[in-house]
C-alpha cells in the first residue's frame, strides 16, 4: 500500500491493517489524538462499514442535527440499534474550520457515530483494540445509556479541559478559581453550570473548550 508521508511507521501499519481488513478509504484514515498518536480516527462512513461487518447492529444512522450559531458549531446525531434491539443515540460536535484537513461536518459525523457505537459497547479502534480488531460488543455495555454516568464522565472531561485552558485555576491551598469558567458558560450558553446540560450540549461545550488555546504552565503558581 502507498506510504503516506505524514504517518509514522506504526500509524501506517495500523492504517494498512484497517484498509486490508475492511476495504475502507486509506486516504481518510487520520490520527488526530495528540495524546494517543496511534489511535486512528475514521470518518462516519468507514466506521459504519466496520460496524456493519460485525453484524452486531440492526441499524446505524447518522445525520446533521443543527448549527449552533453563537459557537459556529455543527452538530450531527447518530443512532444505532443493536441486534438485541437496544438503541443508543449520541451527538458529535465540531467547530467550522476547526481543522484545515477535515471538513467540520465530517468531523462531527465521525464523532457522533463513534460515540453511539462506543455507548453500545462497540469500539474496535480503542487503544490496544486496533491490533485485534475486536468486532464484538463488550459484555459490560449498559442495557441503555445512563445519563447520570454520562454526566459524571463528561463533567470530569469538561473540568479537565477547562483547567488546561486556564478557565479553572488552581489556587494555593487546594482551592479553585472557577470564575472564568462560569463567565465562559454564561457568555456562550447563558447559564453558570454545565451540570444541567444534556449530552449534546456537553459535547458542544467540550468542543468549544478544545478550541481555546492552552495556557502556559506557571511553575511558580504555588508561590505566593
Amino acid at each position: 500500500m502507498n506510504r503516506r508521508p505524514n504517518l509514522t511507521l506504526k500509524q501506517q501499519s495500523i492504517a494498512d491493517g484497517l484498509v486490508k481488513q475492511f476495504d475502507i478509504d486509506a486516504e481518510r484514515i487520520y490520527f488526530l489524538n495528540e495524546d494517543n498518536p496511534e489511535e486512528p480516527w475514521l470518518p462516519a462512513e468507514s466506521l459504519i462499514t466496520i460496524a456493519r461487518k460485525s453484524e452486531e447492529f440492526q441499524t446505524i444512522d447518522e445525520s446533521f442535527d443543527q448549527y449552533i450559531g453563537p459557537l459556529n458549531q455543527v452538530v450531527h446525531r447518530s443512532t444505532v440499534i443493536t441486534r438485541a434491539g437496544r438503541t443508543y443515540t449520541s451527538s458529535g460536535v465540531a467547530t467550522i474550520d476547526e481543522r484545515a484537513d477535515i471538513d467540520a461536518h465530517a468531523l462531527a459525523a465521525g464523532r457522533a457515530v463513534r460515540s453511539a457505537l462506543t455507548a453500545a459497547g462497540f469500539n474496535p479502534l480503542r487503544p490496544g483494540g486496533v491490533v485485534t480488531l475486536d468486532l464484538h460488543l463488550q459484555a459490560g455495555a449498559q442495557a441503555k445509556p445512563d445519563e447520570a454516568q454520562s454526566r459524571v464522565a463528561d463533567l470530569r472531561r469538561i473540568h479537565f479541559i477547562a483547567e488546561r485552558k486556564g478557565l479553572i485555576k488552581l489556587l494555593p491551598g487546594r482551592q479553585e478559581d472557577r470564575s472564568d469558567y462560569k463567565r465562559f458558560l454564561i457568555e456562550k450558553y447563558e447559564t453558570p453550570t454545565a451540570a444541567q446540560f444534556d449530552g449534546m450540549q456537553r459535547a458542544s461545550l467540550i468542543n468549544a473548550l478544545e478550541q481555546l488555546p492552552d495556557v502556559e504552565e506557571d511553575e511558580f503558581r504555588e508561590v505566593a
Binding site: 445512563d146 447520570a148 454516568q149 454526566r151 472557577r178 444541567q196
Partner: protein, 136 residues
C-alpha cells in the same frame, strides 16, 4: 432554591469540594442520578441499588444507600430530600417550600424518636433519665 441551583451546587462540589474531600465515584454517581429526580418522581432505594450495580458494578444494600445519602448531605451539604410514603425515594430540593416541608417531617420524625427513647429510659432506667442529652 431554584431548579438551577442544585446543578450549580453539584458542579461546584465536583470542582472544589467544600470540606476538601472529593466525592467518591459512588457519591458522584448517586448525586448525579438524583439530579434527574423530583418530588413528584423521586428515585427509590431499590432503583438506586439497581442503577449503581448496572453503571458502576458496585453492589449496594439499602443501608449503604442510606449511608451514601447521609454523606452527601452531611459532608457535601447537598440538599437531598427524602420521603417514606408513596412516591417514596430521594431527590434534590428545588424550592424553599420543598425544604420547609422536609424540615417539618424530619423534625417530627426526630422528635418522635426522642420521645420513644425518653419513654423507654424513664420507665426502665429512671436513674438515667436526667442524663439524656443530645449533641450533634
Amino acid at each position: 432554591m431554584g431548579e438551577q441551583l442544585k446543578f450549580e451546587l453539584y458542579e461546584s462540589e465536583l470542582i472544589s469540594p467544600l470540606a476538601g474531600r472529593e466525592l467518591t465515584r459512588l457519591e458522584k454517581y448517586v448525586a448525579s442520578l438524583l439530579l434527574d429526580a423530583s418530588a413528584a418522581a423521586p428515585v427509590g432505594t431499590a432503583d438506586i441499588v439497581r442503577r449503581v450495580e448496572a453503571a458502576l458494578e458496585i453492589q449496594l444494600t439499602a443501608r449503604s444507600v442510606k449511608d451514601t445519602v447521609r454523606t452527601l448531605r452531611k459532608e457535601h451539604k447537598f440538599p437531598i430530600l427524602a420521603r417514606r410514603k408513596s412516591p417514596a425515594g430521594y431527590w434534590w430540593c428545588s424550592s424553599i417550600e420543598e425544604m420547609q416541608e422536609f424540615v417539618e417531617s424530619y423534625r417530627s420524625q426526630a422528635l418522635d424518636e426522642l420521645h420513644t427513647l425518653s419513654q423507654m429510659v424513664k420507665h426502665n432506667y429512671p436513674a438515667l433519665a436526667g442524663q439524656l442529652s443530645f449533641t450533634e
